[in-house]
């Protein structure tokens, strides 16, 4: 697999290549895999920005550096040219040296100032934009969490109401059953009472005396 994706070293590659030359099955397998690799490239995926990050700070360093480098080259060439055409005198050399050092110093100052300003501007812009974007993303995230909590709360409330309704229904059924039992028990008591009275009447001797 390292061979297929170019991760093997030269020795490994040579060994495998030698093996493949003598092993048609392995060669067929490698061919299969390489065909799949090619087919996989049929699906490019575009990834437009997510809008979360600020624009990349522009690469501001290259153009100013090029510009000032060109200026420096021109001035130095002019100085060199002057030196070539003028007499090879000490005065010309001194003038050239002074020009060069002046140009270098000014160039250094300008570049430093420019760099500082550009970096500060880019950083400010990036920070502001990133700030806004990040706030928006975080606000959305927090809102989503809150909505989810509300939904969870509502689902819980609904479940509790169902449980409560079920309990009430069960209670009513139980009450009905108890009432039925009470009624039936009452009836049974009355019957039993009557039976006891009859039994008592039956067992009592005749109380009224006979007249002679």
């Amino acid at each position: 697999m390292s061979f297929i994706y170019g991760e093997s070293n030269a020795a490994e590659r040579n060994n495998l290549a030698a093996h493949l030359r003598g092993c048609p099955d392995c060669q067929a397998k490698v061919n299969e895999w390489q065909a799949v690799q090619k087919a996989l490239n049929s699906w490019p995926v575009r990834a437009p920005g997510l809008g979360l990050a600020a624009k990349r700070p522009p690469v501001l360093l290259v153009r100013p550096v090029l510009k000032w480098a060109a200026v420096a080259v021109l001035l130095l060439s002019a100085g060199f040219g002057l030196g070539q055409f003028a007499s090879a005198s000490v005065e010309a050399d001194k003038v050239r040296a002074r020009i060069e050092s002046q140009v270098r110093q000014e160039l250094r100052q300008e570049m430093t100032e420019l760099l500082r300003n550009q970096v500060k501007k880019a950083a400010d812009e990036t920070l502001m934009a990133a700030n806004e974007q990040t706030k928006t993303v975080l606000a959305n995230y927090v809102r989503e969490i809150q909505t989810k909590h509300e939904q969870d709360g509502q689902a819980l409330y609904s479940a509790l109401r169902k449980v409560d309704a079920q309990r009430l229904a069960d209670y009513l059924l139980l009450k009905k059953d108890l009432d039925t039992v009470a009624v039936n028990t009452d009836a049974d008591f009355r019957i039993t009472k009557q039976q006891i009275i009859q039994l008592v009447d039956y067992n009592q001797p005749a109380s009224s005396p006979r007249t002679p």
């Binding site: 799949v36 995926v45 990834a47 990050a53 990133a130």
Partner: protein, 219 residues
């Protein structure tokens, strides 16, 4: 080798992922966070789209990845590689989404209807652009469909290695498995894809054969 002096100068102003993440972690540095997003939104989005097979869903997951990175910034271990941590977060979100979609499909009353609607939505969301030929569009759909049929463990390895060009060693770090296991999974993934894409591969082979330059007859 000559180094580009401007690149060297620029490197003074560009911080590494790890340095940026450390600033996010310790100072809530939004600028550093924006830099990280800007660098990684493309690769993460591509991973998510390929893992779940749909462009809009992939975009949402990519966004969610960065929200989670920010929300869990305190959990980042500065000694580790930022990219490894980021890939792991994105992959876990993809797995969660795939699980959620499977549960949704399984519990839907109108299974046929919802599956058809979901597939239609994905087809429309995949959105091949008008300038792509019909053949290209068809090939894309075939590859997309085949990838969706691949088990997720193999799909992740294939997407990370083939499309995002991570080394096997890096993938092993992301998935927290041995490098050997990564390579086995990759071999299995390619073998299964070969089976799933057989019609397309056969067509390509025949097409190439037909367009081979033929030897001219010498009279």
């Amino acid at each position: 080798m000559r180094t580009n002096p401007f690149a060297a100068l620029r490197s003074l102003f560009v911080i590494s992922d790890e340095q940026a993440m450390q600033r996010v972690q310790t100072d809530d540095d939004e600028c550093a966070f924006a830099q990280l997003v800007s660098r990684w939104e493309g690769p993460i989005q591509r991973l998510c789209v390929r893992m779940i097979g749909d462009a809009h869903g992939g975009q949402d997951l990519a966004q969610e990845t960065f929200v989670r990175v920010f929300a869990r910034r305190k959990e980042y271990a500065p000694s580790g590689k930022f990219s490894t941590w980021l890939w792991r977060i994105a992959l876990n979100l993809c797995y969660d989404e795939l699980r959620r979609r499977r549960r949704q499909e399984a519990s839907s009353f109108d299974e046929v209807g919802s599956k058809t609607a979901a597939r239609l939505e994905e087809f429309l969301a995949a959105g091949p652009t008008p300038d792509e030929s019909l053949v290209d569009q068809e090939r894309q759909q075939l590859v997309r469909g085949a990838l969706r049929q691949l088990p997720e463990a193999y799909r992740a390895v294939l997407v990370l290695r083939h499309y995002e060009n991570l080394k096997f060693r890096e993938i092993a770090g992301v998935l927290d498995i041995p490098e050997g296991t990564v390579k086995s999974r990759m071999a299995e993934a390619l073998t299964q894809m070969n089976r799933l894409l057989r019609p397309m591969l056969e067509t390509s082979k025949n097409f190439e054969k037909q367009n081979e330059p033929k030897e001219s007859l010498v009279i």
